[in-house]
């Protein structure tokens, strides 16, 4: 691979020093692909790791939030995702896009967590008004431009929308989250879910058809 034989897998001592100097100085990570930045993180370039965390922590928390519907838990799971990325930095092989790898870790973590805590969650009553224990925020922040009644209606509407999305089968739901909210294309979703591209397209088509039917009353 050109990447490995060039910048990231130096063979000569001078080349090694060059990489170390680059790591120490300001590196324009924006000009590199995420996979290249991740390979640099594997050479203990902490700034490279920091760059990826800064770039992806928001979308990752948002993804986890939709997967588990709790901000505190979403942040906890997102922390675990980035810690796993850190632990695997030396063995990262850049065989797939960085985001594919990242979302595969995230999806596995979220799905396993949901399965492990299924009984716990099913018995939990979530109040729409009480703030989250850890974050201190309510589940859906009230819109200050609306009055109390309008805010209640808005919340109820949002809860109903979420309920319909969450009622989708696990794979369809995850695919919708990645496609609709994370802006991922069929190929990338297919790689994360280990499906063919055509199967992913068909999975999403079915999911959106179901949602169109169920969300008719909100249109």
């Amino acid at each position: 691979m050109a990447l490995k034989s060039g910048l990231f897998m130096p063979t000569a001592t001078g080349r090694m020093q060059g990489v170390a100097e680059m790591a120490a100085s300001h590196v324009p990570y924006d000009s590199l692909s995420d996979a290249e930045v991740m390979l640099r993180a594997g050479t203990d370039d902490d700034a490279a790791y920091e760059y990826l965390v800064t770039k992806y922590h928001r979308p990752m928390i948002a993804f986890m939030y939709r997967m588990c519907r709790s901000q505190a838990l979403a942040e906890e799971l997102a922390q675990e995702v980035f810690l796993r990325v850190y632990r695997s930095r030396k063995t990262y092989a850049a065989e797939a896009k960085f985001t594919t790898w990242l979302y595969r870790i995230a999806t596995n973590l979220a799905v396993n967590h949901a399965r492990d805590h299924k009984v716990e969650r099913s018995g939990k009553v979530v109040s729409l008004d009480e703030p989250d224990e850890e974050s201190g925020t309510t589940l859906d922040v009230a819109d200050p431009t609306l009055n109390v009644e309008q805010n209640i209606l808005r919340r109820e509407r949002l809860q109903a929308i979420k309920k319909h999305v969450m009622a989708l089968p696990e794979k369809q739901r995850t695919a919708v989250f990645m496609h609709k909210y994370q802006g991922m294309d069929y190929r990338e979703i297919a790689e994360v879910l280990k499906l063919s591209e055509s199967a992913t397209k068909s999975l999403l088509f079915r999911a959106y058809e179901v949602l169109r039917e169920r969300l008719k009353e909100f249109v």
Partner: protein
Amino acid sequence: MNCNDVRENLIELLTDGPADPQVKTHLSQCGACTAELASMRKTMAVLDEWEAPEPSPYFLTRLRAHVKEEREKAPAAKWVAWLRRPVLAVSLATMLATGGLLYRLTVGTQAPDNGAVADIESLDKNHDLIIDTDLVNELTGGPSDDVAEP
């Protein structure tokens, strides 16, 4: 290009627009497909209402602390990994086996002390005691188990 072809690609049409001129033509002529597209667009707009909250301001601080912990415990982890190496495992197993064998050999030579040798010693002692008793009997004119010589 028929209605099925268009409907199967509604999602792409919404995100990328009708790249294929045939699709564009079909949509301009087919009211049902246009309605389907508009309906799906509205569904997408409803889904847009589900916004994710902003990350907490401490997220990155907490993560950095975890990463620091991870970095600090790395040398210990290396030792654990070294201990888990197969070569070391084989060496330890060999040492244990050798130790076991040596113990068995050592104990093996001493084992009769606890069994047969102790019995033989006990028999010897009993024999000495019997002879002594016999001698006392003979001296005191008591019965003797000596066989009279012909």
